[in-house]
Amino acid sequence: MYAAHFAASLAVKGRAPRAPLWALVTAAFLPDFVWIVLARAGVEPELPPRGFFDDWSHSLLMIVVASTLFALLFWKKDRVVAAAVWIAGLSHLILDFLIHPARLALYPHSAIHLGWSLWSYGQEKSSLGPNHYWWIEAAFIVLLLAVYGFSWRRVSPNWRIPAASCLLVAGLHLLSV
């Protein structure tokens, strides 16, 4: 998922306004940042003959470890912010649990894999145009942006900022049709 990770960081931002958005976005994309580096280094190949492998960046254990380490950077300054960053990091696990190129491993090289293997189903075209993956991600985005929008409404009557943020995330998702 792509735009859904931005939506997840905004949803956490809505619930914890003190948390800096840069930290939430970084936490929400942390496994992908690790994956980009490891894929480039050849540790997590996506090419034949070794096939797709992302246990070091996307296994349950490694996402928890990476999120915890990153959240600890904020622990001394503000524990609420640290908790928000931790949750943003774990949101990656929840969002990738449903659809991912490979089911998420429990830990690197584990035989136990978690998550639903909806990848093939997700790639199929739906009767409404884009593939099922796109629609599932859209549903998550709507839900997460609703959390963000309603949280904003409680603290400020200004609707322009959340509207602009929501439009940007929705636009990113529309671009991926």
Partner: protein, 99 residues
């Protein structure tokens, strides 16, 4: 997104390398004095085809091009996250700055 990545590849007689990253599978066009070639990654497997006066390509050249495509892909993936993130951060100014 087209990334012109000449500096990233050392191929003898190289004039230009153009990577078309808009496709789901990236393609690199390598133009050199001794005839160009195109490297494409369809279904994640590499294929090489000649452009104009093709005179052969060494495995060293191919691995350099492959490496450059990999780097370009990584840069593209980082930019796809960093640019929207930067806009979002500018839109929502953060703690203590909300109206």
């Amino acid at each position: 997104m087209i990334i012109r990545a000449m500096a990233m590849v050392r191929v003898d007689g190289l004039r230009e390398i153009t990577m078309d990253m808009r496709r789901p599978e990236p393609t690199a066009n390598v133009n050199r004095r001794a005839g160009g070639f195109r490297v494409s990654f369809q279904n994640r497997s590499r294929s090489v085809e000649p452009i104009k006066s093709f005179v052969g390509v060494t495995s060293k050249e191919l691995s350099r091009v492959e490496s450059a495509v990999g780097t370009a892909e990584a840069i593209q993936q980082l930019l796809l996250i960093a640019i929207p993130a930067l806009i979002l951060i500018l839109v929502d100014p953060g703690p203590g700055k909300r109206p």
